[in-house]
């Protein structure tokens, strides 16, 4: 397996070097003890987890709503929206932050429009350089990662089940709660853990926001490693983050494997249905 050897060399070996590098700073400012006890690290760790968890929750709510409408309330142009959502997946994340500066910045379009109506000069919308700005940008960028698996699991759901439930008098909300959502849980967990992983690792959005008060672990690795050129210190933070991400990655793979086996079983269910 030559490809496996190459990938082990260029991906796994550097990560191991990061862990090794982290112990070279013993006795200096960059040792494990002094980095982990520093206020900057504690703040960044807490902020990273809080932003990732909130953004994931937002993505799940927004993604479920959009996926349910796309799958079950068909309208002309729904395919176009689906394509748009797919395209966002391939775009750079910092684009969202850049757009938000023009839209919601203190001198942005929304504030100018509000000022034009009220005549008040002070900016009415001013969340961009707070954690809320980062969370809003991350929700925008990562929601497609929830929509995709949800759409896939909705497409497995026989339409007849919905129609039967509705014809027996169930309200749309009840159909959603007791027919649609039970099928969607595995896809939601898979999409949610993927988004949680990606938001923990997100760098471009936070870097472009550039606010002093909003530093996450990846940005801290960057400033420590490149701006102040303290490789051992950066390696300590990177080791912590790699451990965190790998743990979550393990959970994601487990959830995803279960999703795949369940889908296999669901397939046989559907196959026997018409003969009943």
């Amino acid at each position: 397996m030559p490809p496996l050897v190459i990938v082990l060399l260029v991906a796994v070996y550097p990560l191991i070097r990061v862990c090794l590098e982290s112990v070279t700073g013993v006795g200096t400012q960059s040792s494990w003890g002094s980095v982990l006890s520093s206020e900057a690290f504690g703040d960044a760790l807490w902020r990273t987890v809080a932003i990732a968890a909130t953004a994931t929750l937002g993505c799940l709510v927004l993604g479920t709503f959009l996926a349910v409408v796309l799958a079950f309330v068909p309208f002309p142009g729904s395919r176009l929206v689906g394509r748009l959502v797919d395209t966002v997946l391939a775009l750079p994340s910092f684009l969202v932050t850049l757009a938000f500066t023009f839209l919601y910045g203190t001198a942005g379009a929304v504030n100018a429009a509000i000022a034009g109506v009220t005549g008040d000069r002070a900016p009415a919308v001013n969340f961009l350089y707070t954690p809320a700005g980062v969370i809003a940008a991350e929700i925008t960028f990562f929601t497609p990662f929830v929509i995709r698996p949800l759409m896939a699991s909705f497409s497995m759901l026989p339409r007849a089940q919905l129609n039967v439930a509705a014809s027996l008098g169930a309200s749309p909300l009840r159909v959603l709660r007791s027919v649609v959502m039970p099928e969607a849980w595995p896809a939601l967990t898979a999409g949610g853990s993927l988004v949680l992983l990606l938001t923990l690792n997100e760098f471009g959005i936070v870097l472009f926001t550039g606010a002093k008060g909003v530093t996450t672990l990846p940005v801290l690795i960057y400033t420590r490693g490149i701006v102040s050129f303290d490789l051992p210190g950066a390696a300590v933070i990177a080791t912590v983050q790699i451990a965190l991400s790998l743990a979550l990655y393990g959970v994601y793979r487990m959830v995803f494997a279960r999703l795949m086996t369940q889908r296999g079983r669901a397939g046989t269910d559907v196959a026997v249905e018409p003969s009943q």
């Binding site: 990938v7 309330v73 994340s93 023009f102 942005g108 929700i139 690792n201 471009g204 990655y249």
Partner: protein
């Protein structure tokens, strides 16, 4: 089928439309408009024109675009070859080994790209693997990051491939190499095209690993865009992002359109 009442359906679709426009359409449209705008002090941009796009296509910005394109093509190509090879080989491998391959190939996108960049800087900064300070470390970083997408796209396509074609060719006496080049790869061509488009698109927009490894002589477009916003030149940054967006979309659609000869017949 979920809503039977015409009014509730209209209300829901209205809400849906507003959400899609605010969340997805507005940011994309804003960047493009800001790239075209001369100034944006009111609610709407003014002095629309293509002057800034000209700026984005000259001097340092053009150089960055060319660097980004070269990086994306070389890194995407490397990732595609390696990913296809691994996907084909892991088919023949015992199950435990293919599980290992799957986990290892997805590893680079599971860890933060900044940490991977840091690792590359540390690991390839001394002989015999001296790549630090050259363009190759940027290309290597991009190749590693897009490898996961190339690998999973080709694997998924292989799963859907009907083995009957391969078996028919084998039963007619074709050797493994002939089966690969005349049957399997042509059938995989659409998936390879789509994977290549995605690889180029992701590489064009990569920032996290690049800022850790790039030398001053090999600045990719996202790095230049970040430098522009850092200096407060947000409009020029938007113009460069618009160009980036255009190139990305062209790569995605052009490479995604490749159809295999078998499908045409």
């Amino acid at each position: 089928m979920l809503l039977w009442n015409r009014r509730s359906r209209a209300v829901l679709l209205g809400v849906f439309g507003i959400v899609v426009v605010v969340v997805f359409v507005a940011p994309l449209a804003t960047v493009v408009l800001a790239g075209l705008a001369g100034a944006w002090t009111g609610a709407l941009p003014s002095h629309l024109g293509v002057d800034r796009l000209g700026g984005a296509l000259s001097g340092e910005n053009l150089a960055s675009l060319s660097v980004s394109l070269q990086t994306a093509v070389v890194a995407g190509g490397l990732a595609l070859v390696l990913g296809t090879w691994a996907a084909l080989a892991s088919r023949e491998a015992p199950p435990w080994l293919s599980r290992v391959v799957d986990a290892v190939f997805h590893l680079p996108i599971a860890v933060p790209s900044v940490a991977l960049g840091l690792g590359l800087v540390i690991a390839f900064n001394s002989a015999p693997l001296l790549l630090g300070g050259t363009r190759w470390i940027v290309i290597l970083a991009h190749a590693v990051l897009v490898l996961a997408f190339a690998f999973s796209a080709v694997s998924a396509a292989l799963d859907r491939l009907d083995p009957a074609y391969r078996q028919a060719a084998e039963s007619l006496g074709a050797g493994p190499f002939r089966v690969l080049t005349r049957v399997t790869l042509p059938l995989l061509l659409p998936a390879l095209g789509a994977a290549a488009g995605l690889a180029v698109a992701l590489s064009m927009g990569e920032l996290g690993a690049t800022v850790m490894v790039y030398p001053a002589t090999w600045k990719t477009l996202p790095v230049t865009i970040f430098a522009l916003t850092d200096r407060g030149q947000a409009f020029q940054a938007a113009a460069s992002t618009t160009i980036l967006l255009l190139v990305t979309l062209v790569a995605l659609t052009a490479l995604g359109r490749i159809r295999s000869a078998a499908a045409v017949r």
